[in-house]
């Protein structure tokens, strides 16, 4: 893809914004320090299984909980050691390298204030920054941008955020104008969507089920997606021909965001959403669907780092998801909707190489409602910590405007180098 296609045309600018040309957002306070920070938020929609991304291999109850689905340091595909207690999914060597270089941080047992288990409501809380579902007009990142004291700016009356995707994620929508860039490639139809549809057809419309199965040439996979539990982890991953597409889309979308943020006159804050994390059936954490997705995400991280170039030094990328998944494996070798999960932070501006967790434990009584990893860190504290130290937003604004009613959730200190 020629890089010129990444430059927004006038039409693309108009698409998502009333601003006619890009404005390099450099908050006044930050400029005074001689910095030019970049901040990218990536929403993983569908509730990513934090325990399968970063596993508590040092917890004595870990193996009991996940059995042969548990990531371990000595398995056939060993997890990548982080700090002795936690280990990273082996599908993420790039993130591991960044961690070792002090440029990635994991926050574990973290969750938004939302304690129900609906994706839509959970995503709304995650992205709106509100304590409860229901408000879906503006996102916390946009409000953060709107609250920033602009430094020197050129020409336009507004501040600009950047969004990748046909529709801007809620997190970045709001009063501050959004520059939207639509990748030439639409998000591919994920394996998960196809499987759900085949499952629906199998229960209601065999003719359509047959047609779709034949169309994708994978009747066997469809059978596997039916509610049989005879599968084991050695079975090839569920592949409906989608993962290569997903890999490309993740890399292209994230890579494009990085290119925009890297530009001298580009936006400084951006967001995108990557779907597909709702792993109810055949999760495949070590080898399989989730491993494939995490591999694609790892590729996206590498793409961001590369495309960011020198400004990577001043970059923070945060990966967040609406909630975690059940601590135990369910009857379909998957996991159901849960509570706490991980947040992944990457970027040259971080004081990384750490896993931050007030670990709640995995015993039956430790678990939230005896089923989910308990949340011991409020995700808003992490995000507020980043916004405070990286973009220099102050506590009252963060506690009232950006994350309303969160003055009692102090920003997490010390995340930045």
């Amino acid at each position: 893809m020629p890089s010129s296609s990444l430059v927004p045309t006038r039409r693309e600018l108009l698409l998502g914004s009333s601003a006619l040309f890009a404005w390099a957002l450099v908050p006044g306070k930050v400029r005074a320090e001689g910095r030019d920070p970049r901040f990218l938020t990536i929403v993983l929609r569908g509730a990513a299984d934090g325990l399968a991304v970063v596993a508590p291999v040092g917890d004595p109850d870990w193996l009991k909980l996940r059995g042969d689905k548990a990531l371990t340091l000595d398995g056939q595909t060993p997890a990548l050691p982080l700090d002795g207690f936690f280990a990273l999914n082996p599908a993420m060597p790039n993130l591991h390298r960044l961690y070792q270089a002090g440029q990635a941080t994991i926050v574990h047992a973290v969750a938004t204030p939302y304690r129900e288990r609906s994706h839509f409501d959970g995503q709304d809380v995650l992205e709106s920054g509100q304590a409860k579902p229901g408000a879906v007009d503006t996102g916390w990142l946009n409000r953060a941008l709107a609250a920033l004291e602009p430094g020197e700016r050129v020409g336009t009356p507004g501040r600009q955020a950047f969004a990748v995707g046909p529709i801007a994620p809620l997190v970045v929508r709001g009063r501050a104008p959004v520059l939207a860039w639509v990748p030439p490639r639409l998000p591919p139809v994920g394996d998960d969507t196809t499987m759900r549809l085949i499952d629906l057809y199998n229960h209601t419309d065999p003719a359509l089920a047959r047609a779709l199965e034949e169309r994708i040439g994978l009747a066997a996979v469809a059978r596997a997606s039916g509610m049989t539990s005879e599968l084991d982890d050695d079975r090839p991953a569920v592949q409906i021909g989608g993962i290569e597409q997903v890999r490309k889309y993740f890399a292209e979308a994230a890579g494009a965001a990085a290119k925009f943020l890297a530009r001298a006159e580009g936006p400084r804050v951006g967001a995108l959403a990557l779907d597909g994390w709702d792993t109810h059936v055949n999760e495949g954490a070590v080898k399989g669907r989730l491993a494939n997705l995490l591999g694609a995400l790892d590729g996206a991280i590498a793409e961001i780092e590369t495309n960011m170039g020198d400004p990577w030094r001043e970059t923070v990328v945060v990966f967040v998801t609406e909630f975690g998944r059940t601590a135990r494996i369910n009857g379909n070798d998957g996991t159901d909707h849960g509570t706490a999960t991980v947040a992944i932070l990457a970027g040259g501006a971080l004081k990384g190489g750490r896993v931050l967790a007030d670990w709640p434990g995995l015993k039956d009584t430790d678990l939230h409602e005896r089923r989910d990893l308990r949340a011991t860190t409020d995700l808003r504290a992490v995000l507020k910590g980043l916004l405070k130290d990286h973009l220099r937003l102050d506590d009252p604004v963060l506690g009232t405007e950006v994350f309303p009613d969160s003055l009692n959730v102090p920003p997490m200190p010390g995340l930045l180098a």
Partner: protein, 477 residues
């Protein structure tokens, strides 16, 4: 009248273009009555748009456009050749370095304007889709689409495809079949598409002078596809004789008729003289009237009645239509001399038309329109055209004169592509839609427990919307 939201939803999907927000409840008090009322609307089936040219005017405009473009290209070629010659003469001299004939001044490539034929096509396509998207229920528009496909032409053969639908199909969808037949077979778009404009009677003046002859294409397709139906009551001799009857039905050439080029003309000079016999009837030579008489007889033939009734039931009800229903519609057709409003009324009021099973898969265009109606979204016409083409049903470009298939099997193959489009649409448009609200609006009581569950459990709103658009109750009608 009992309130019947289930039958209302079925009415909207089966006989219309699918529900919009609120339309299920709006017609629930009397779904069948609401369908029949649509047939009584003033100007039902008509499109009023000052923006659209007549097909003949479009034909002339495109002719002029092409002529000008050809002239411009030729002028440019001459200019380059002249420059080359100058360079040749200067060859060896110092000037040759400056006057390079093969390097015209580099002009930044301007985004080329949309060519006129495509502009006209898009305008017509937009009018065609807008009428479906904006209809209350859409029964009359569904009839327009049905008849436009029954009497299809191809936009690759003529720029008049859109105008043809407005001029030959729309005025008659609730009128008499015989009137539509006459309008269609005499329309320049059809004459061009099925090559009758070149068909010359071998014994006509033009035929003798120019040593030209018959083209049977139109005559055969009228008998086989438009009226009696294949393998019915006609023979090869009937086809040939009918072709002779139709000689002289042609188009005024635009090159010599700046004001009326592209319009129908009966050219006696090309018309085969004499009486012709067709399916046992003899038609004396009355010029254009000879063809009109044959078409009138074909329209009232029982085989035509049965063919039309079968196709209607096949389109609206099932691939293996109940024969009682076909018989009832055939009889209604014969009793009313092919009054299409009466035939459709017979269809709507027949108990067999209301089987709860949604036996038919929506055709691609129907599904696209249904998706737009369900979400209330608008889409750029280019995007609609591309999506429909991707799903195997390019607008006004059927693979053959038979039109697009009305069998489920033909469209099942495209299910994967539908999923791609649903997914893309959901990611573009899901903003602001509560999937469950869209489901209630679009399916209401038709939504199965399984579909409800799948949508409630989707991992994101876009996924939920994609699943809704792909749900069997939404794919079928």
């Amino acid at each position: 009248m009992a309130c019947d939201p289930r039958e209302a939803a079925l009415a909207l999907h089966r006989f219309g273009f699918g529900p919009r927000a609120g339309s299920i409840m709006a017609i629930a008090p009397d779904p069948r009555g609401a369908l029949l009322a649509e047939l009584e609307l003033p100007d039902a089936g008509q499109i009023a748009s000052a923006d659209l040219q007549s097909s003949a005017a479009a034909n002339r405009a495109v002719f002029e456009y092409n002529a000008e473009r050809a002239a411009n290209e030729k002028r440019e070629r001459h200019r380059r050749e002249a420059a080359a010659q100058v360079a040749m003469q200067n060859a060896g001299g110092e000037a040759s370095m400056e006057a390079k004939p093969d390097a015209p001044p580099p002009t930044p490539s301007q985004p080329e304007a949309v060519p006129l034929p495509r502009q006209l096509f898009r305008k017509e396509a937009k009018a065609h889709f807008d009428a479906a998207i904006n209809a209350e229920i859409g029964l009359v528009e569904r009839l327009v689409w049905f008849w436009s496909n029954h009497f299809c032409v191809n936009a690759d053969a003529t720029v008049m495809a859109g105008g043809y639908e407005r001029e030959a199909i729309r005025p008659h969808v609730l009128g008499r079949f015989s009137d539509m037949l006459l309008a269609v077979e005499g329309h320049p778009a059809m004459l061009l598409y099925l090559n009758n404009e070149q068909s010359v009677g071998p014994e006509s003046v033009a035929g003798i002078n120019r040593d030209k002859g018959l083209n049977e294409n139109l005559a055969r397709e009228i008998l086989e596809l438009h009226t009696l139906g294949v393998r019915t009551v006609y023979t090869q001799a009937d086809v040939t004789n009918f072709a002779k009857v139709l000689t002289g039905w042609t188009i005024l050439p635009t090159v010599s008729n700046p004001d009326h080029g592209g319009e129908f003309v009966f050219l006696r000079r090309a018309h085969e003289p004499g009486a012709q016999t067709l399916i046992g009837n003899t038609y004396t030579d009355g010029g254009v009237g000879q063809g009109c008489s044959v078409l009138a007889d074909l329209a009232r033939h029982p085989a035509t009645a049965k063919h039309v009734a079968t196709k209607l039931v096949h389109h609206f009800i099932a691939d293996d239509p109940p024969s009682e229903l076909i018989d009832r519609l055939t009889q209604r057709y014969l009793d009313t001399e092919g009054d299409l409003k009466e035939v459709v009324t017979a269809l709507i009021t027949a108990p067999e038309a209301w089987a709860p099973e949604q036996a038919k898969i929506k055709r691609p265009g129907e599904w696209i329109v249904a998706a737009l109606r369900a979400t209330g979204e608008t889409a750029d016409i280019v995007r609609i055209i591309r999506a429909q083409a991707l799903l195997g049903e390019p607008l006004w470009r059927p693979p053959a004169p038979k039109g697009f298939s009305d069998d489920n099997a033909a469209w099942l193959d495209g299910l994967g592509q539908r999923l791609e489009i649903a997914n893309g649409f959901a990611h573009r448009e899901a903003l602001g839609h509560e999937p469950e609200a869209v489901m209630e609006a679009a399916l209401g009581p038709l939504a199965s427990a399984e579909t409800r569950r799948a949508i409630a459990r989707a991992e994101s709103r876009p996924q939920a919307l994609a699943l809704l658009l792909m749900a069997p109750e939404f794919q079928r009608r």
